[in-house]
Symmetry: C2
Subunit: 229 residues, 2 copies
């Protein structure tokens, strides 16, 4: 296969390219220039060209890239030419939100199972999927042939759940809780945390406010620091 070593930065941009390309295709565009795709994805056009070149994807000089081919190739690079069934552990509000959100199924990640430790929930059907008990994890993984899971439990049990998932054969985990989980290197984990995102926003917002002379916001400001030499 053609891909050498694809940088993390490149990988992170691929889903965005894909989304833009799907829009373009829906609007009937047959080809697209790196310039245009760059504009839609909010990156530099050289970056687009280099990312694609890295994947071994080639365009036509003087014309651009074939939209359909590009979609196919990026899908292939991301491993999306097949659907990846997923399971969701934790059917609280968040788990339900995920189950009812059609965007996963439509983008190639059908939710095949919902698991919880609460026996009272077992058997309830959410978005067409019956909730099963976490104790049956092994059987579920085998039955549905899933390799990816989303953890939507309370943070306190995330690590424990992650270990069970790993033991059951899950190899990629999206952790939606506030605590990071640690697993062997061969398991791929990504964490998404709302509070983290808001805190980052807060940093920039605070800075902006400070730059404006601190109008309005009554910051309990830190004691002045002696700057290091």
């Amino acid at each position: 296969m053609a891909n050498e070593r694809v940088s993390g930065a490149t990988v992170a941009r691929l889903p965005n390219y894909l989304r833009c390309l799907i829009d373009l295709a829906a609007n009937g565009a047959a080809s697209v220039s790196s310039e245009r795709l760059a504009e839609l994805s909010d990156v530099n056009s050289a970056t687009v060209r280099r990312d694609l070149a890295t994947l071994g994807i080639t365009g036509t000089r003087g014309v651009g890239y074939d939209v359909k081919y590009l979609v196919f190739q990026i899908n292939a690079a991301l491993g999306l030419n097949q659907a990846w069934p997923i399971l969701v552990v934790g059917v609280g509000n968040l788990g339900r939100a995920l189950a009812n959100y059609g965007g996963l199924e439509s983008r190639g990640f059908p939710i095949r199972a919902l698991l919880d430790i609460d026996a009272a929930l077992v058997g309830d059907v959410v978005a067409g999927v019956a909730i099963e008990h976490l104790d049956d994890l092994d059987a579920v993984v085998e039955r549905e042939d899933v390799a990816m899971a989303v953890i939507a439990t309370p943070a306190a049990v995330a690590q424990e759940v992650a270990e069970k998932l790993t033991a059951a054969g899950i190899v990629s985990i999206l952790n939606f809780t506030a605590t990071p989980i640690s697993l062997p290197d061969e398991i791929e984990v990504r964490r998404v945390d709302l509070a983290t995102e808001l805190q980052i926003l807060s940093f920039y917002q605070q800075r902006r406010t400070a730059a404006r002379g601190g109008t309005g916001v009554p910051l309990t400001s830190a004691p002045a620091l002696s700057a290091p030499s």
Copy 2:
């Protein structure tokens, strides 16, 4: 104020340091070495030292950093010495999940308002907050003095909602929909998209599978590409 220019990479790590430090403090640790904090945060210790130095935070040679002081300083750097009230637009499953998730309130982001366009929802109370109509946005922003908002609507209306938020005076937005929104530079926006995260996981998973000789997974593999010279 002591902060020169803090890199985005550094800012993104601060919430993680903070979480680790709060754990340490809860366990009674009075001081922490960069080595230990690095280990907990899964980064290199030199990175920790440099990040802190960038913020003007200084430790004690031979000892480490004072945990409580560090928490205070990072909080200050992130602008978290005050609470940032937020509002959530879109009270579907996701909006409800956010409203019921205590992790935001406890980390300094109390949800002060829930807005929706569906008149049938207006007046319902979710997690102690009454749903209001999006048309009343201006009044709500003024009344609650909020500067940050989370968009949890269907993707199709995200852009429109974002513009209304901006017009109403919101300056930081967390976009939880699949489509990016574009706004003037002075508005800070972050997008979190589930499918994007899963696609990134998929890339690494596919690669791992391929490396193992493709056992099991029946990938519709792309036609072999001629590698560029």
